[in-house]
Amino acid sequence: MSAPNPDPETRTVNLFDGELARCPQPVYQRMHAQCPVARAAMTNSPVISRYEDVIKGLRDPELFSSEMDMQMALGTERPMIPQQIDPPLQTRYRKLLDPHFSRKKMIELEPVIRADASALIDRFVDEGHCDFDPDFAIPLPCHAFLRLCGLPQEDLDLFLSLKNGIIRPQLETKSIDMEVNKKARVETGHRIYAYFEDVIDDRKKSPRDDLMTRLVQSEIDGHRLTRNDILDICFLLILAGLDTVTATLGCNIAYLAANPDQRRRISADPELIPNAVEELMRWETPVIAVPRVATRDVEIGGLEIEQGELVSFLIGAANLDEIEFPDAGAVDFDRERNRHLAFGSGPHRCLGSHLARMELRVAMEEWHRRIPDYAVEPGKAPRYSPGIREVMELPLVWPAP
């Protein structure tokens, strides 16, 4: 028998366990009961689960820094902006970026993204089945990203391959060799830089009304963003803005497919969708943890953390904390009070949260309007990836017209 997860004897937890990816809530509940501060199996790094401890940590960038050396590198040459830098510099970048990602700006994109969602559904609705991940959850955020940046929709396939090359290089290389995949990552990194170099040159010559032009023209304290600044921002947008929405769409639909009563409520009453999206963000928390580095020795809940240690703030577990969420183990679309941390907290609050919320709402509305009655294909089970919880296999069926 394999060790329990978490293991209360050793106070360790395996964050890359398949069971935690598939069904994390019982793991989180055991962590709250047995070891709300733990260490990660294999890496031994501290894992913090209590809601209060997590918000305190995420709101204290002086103590818990986002500036980590290349241990987290994903084919980048420099830190990603603004995720891997700390205030006060991070604040200056956010001041510049936030206006381009505000709710007001994102609502302007809603009609085109609704049309994109609807066009994807057109392709398979009459067949009565689809593979939710490749047919819907992967392309939709990519369409939205291209719309946001003002890039041609024909670049969709190119973007999907760049994104895989960075996040899951094994899908592109068809190899499990670490070195092969590391090389693929670095090569993809170069391709991403090269792609955006061209876009920057183009927008400098012929400005348009799009995000890329606004980045080229924007200034921090009277200085233009440098070419490298813009590249580092774009790199992060690809890493942060595609898979996260894909994973959330998959987790939401997989939950609803498995819980027909909840699904029927949503199909019958689309006004529930915004609240259901929030509650499912809390329940599923597809981005399970955010990393920080301790800048000095510190103790949390009896766990001694040393300066320089990489600390995982387990937002997924925090979102299941009974102290913050009464009846945390129940999925309640009418929950009145929901201060979930699925988009983080403090200065690094997800820059794309307004875009993500709009995409999720529009996708859920279009999907349930067109396909109200769906289930997982009989005999099949969804397959979740460890790390960011993407539902990589989610075969769905519904009565075809």
């Binding site: 206006p99 505000s102 609050r349």
Partner: protein
């Protein structure tokens, strides 16, 4: 009832202006702007919901004294 927003805590999650648009607006950067500091009785539920859904705990409701 008085509404107060602690601007230093607000990071622009936007739950308040989503849930209670009569009471909270947004600035350029998506941070909260208080539109009504003393909500009418029929607006109290909305104000309460906004406060209850702000992940940064930036919104306080005080009994007017």
């Amino acid at each position: 009832m008085k509404v107060r927003v602690d601007a230093a805590r607000c990071t622009g999650h936007g739950r308040c202006y989503d849930l209670a648009p009569e009471i909270f607006g947004e600035d350029e950067e998506g941070h909260c702007v208080l539109l009504v500091s003393e909500p009418a009785p029929e607006q109290l539920d909305d104000a309460r919901r906004a406060a209850d859904n702000c992940p940064e705990r930036a919104i306080q409701l005080d009994a007017a004294g």
